[in-house]
């Protein structure tokens, strides 16, 4: 059954950028390495984006996936994140983004970091994932 919040576009909430709340960032590391790398969604400016801005809108939709997952992780206890639809979308996003990286191995781990101004806090660590199985 389609969850009720999937219909939220029909019930407008006119609060935009009202609070400097935490935003969520996605970082990954290769298995065996200690270095975490952020996944970037920045976009270059281009002409006519007032009319067609598909890359930017897609990037914003991608960031929404991270936020949805982070919200679900924070609102639930004692659950299997792997069963969440947002987890499947997030891991697919990660896999798609990592095609741009030359990774020494297909085993990666990701984390979700809540950031506000200069403060950062990790709210979720994934298990080690095999990109080929995602």
């Amino acid at each position: 059954m389609i969850p009720f919040n999937y219909f939220r576009a029909l019930f407008p909430r006119w609060s935009f950028y009202d609070q400097v709340a935490y935003h969520f960032e996605l970082e990954f590391k290769v298995f065996g390495s200690a270095d975490w790398h952020p996944i970037s969604f920045t976009q270059p400016r281009s002409l006519f984006t007032l009319f067609l801005n598909s890359n930017c809108n897609l990037a914003m939709a991608s960031i929404n996936i991270i936020e949805h997952f982070a919200t679900e992780v924070q609102s639930q206890t004692d659950f299997d994140a792997h069963q969440l639809t947002s987890f499947k979308l997030l891991t697919s996003l990660l896999k798609a983004k990592l095609t741009d990286f030359e990774l020494p191995t297909n085993s990666v781990q990701f984390k979700i970091v809540a950031a506000q101004c200069e403060k950062k806090e990790t709210i979720y660590f994934s298990n080690v994932l095999n990109l080929d199985e995602l």
Binding site: Y6, P12, L52, S54, N57, M60
Partner: protein, 247 residues
């Protein structure tokens, strides 16, 4: 603005906005990244219908939205507006609520307003007008309750989260010029909350509209939110009509 002119302008602007969105969706349907992430395989737990939510259906929906928008531009027909409502709903469901947040919500307000206008043109435009004016007012009211907005911190922080690197630099510049940041913050709040004054001084609607254009262009420039610009532009004919007719 007359009733007929307002309704025609709303319809044609909305058809342009949705034609652009339909084209965007179609371009995105060719994007392997999108089709891998928002694949039916990932979504089928909640969206069981492969007929409505398969990868092919997304392409078809985007083309139908574009075609319906073109038809609507030339003639208002109830079935076209209903179709566009349904197509937009399918897209929002696919993206688990909204694709682009507030602009999707305003598009539905506009579509519902046009649907209502089929039975009562004034009621349809009034519906859109009320939502539009409330959207500015509520947004400003929410900001008034935030210390980060009142002290000027919010704009710089949001700019630094933009997808555009030069917006990050603008955010850094605002951090170094807190007086400017504060002026911009207070001005934004005043602009949004100030729409309520149009109820008492409707003759200034043209001036407020120009400020709104500047506001939405600025938001687009900083954050890349092109859809917001078009969605709110579509709503303004109803504001012009209603403030001119009922006040």
């Amino acid at each position: 603005m007359t009733l007929e002119a307002s309704l025609n302008l709303t319809t044609q602007l909305l058809s342009l906005a949705l034609a652009m969105q339909g084209l965007e969706y179609f371009l995105l349907s060719q994007n392997s990244y999108l089709m891998r992430v928002w694949s039916f395989k990932n979504l089928k737990k909640e969206l069981q219908s492969s007929f409505l939510f398969s990868d092919l259906s997304f392409k078809i929906i985007s083309l139908l939205l574009f075609a319906a928008s073109v038809l609507l531009f030339f003639k208002f027909q109830l079935w076209i507006v209903l179709l566009m409502f349904f197509l937009n709903l399918l897209i929002c469901l696919r993206f688990r609520g909204t694709f682009n947040g507030g602009s999707d919500m305003m598009i539905f307000v506009l579509l519902i307003g046009l649907l209502v206008s089929n039975w009562s043109q004034q009621a349809g435009l009034l519906y859109i007008c009320i939502h539009t004016m409330f959207s500015y007012f509520k947004a400003g009211l929410s900001k008034m309750k935030s210390n980060d907005w009142l002290n000027g911190l919010a704009i710089s922080q949001f700019a630094k989260r933009s997808l555009y690197i030069d917006s990050h630099k603008f955010g850094d510049w605002l951090n170094q010029n807190p007086a400017v940041a504060k002026i911009l913050s207070i001005s934004t709040i005043a602009f949004e909350v100030g729409i309520i004054l149009l109820l008492f001084f409707p003759k200034f609607v043209g001036l407020y509209f120009l400020l709104a254009l500047f506001f939405h262009i600025s938001v687009f420039r900083i954050f890349g939110l092109n859809r917001f610009f078009w969605a709110w532009l579509c709503a303004w004919p109803s504001v012009f009509y209603c403030l001119g007719s009922f006040l």
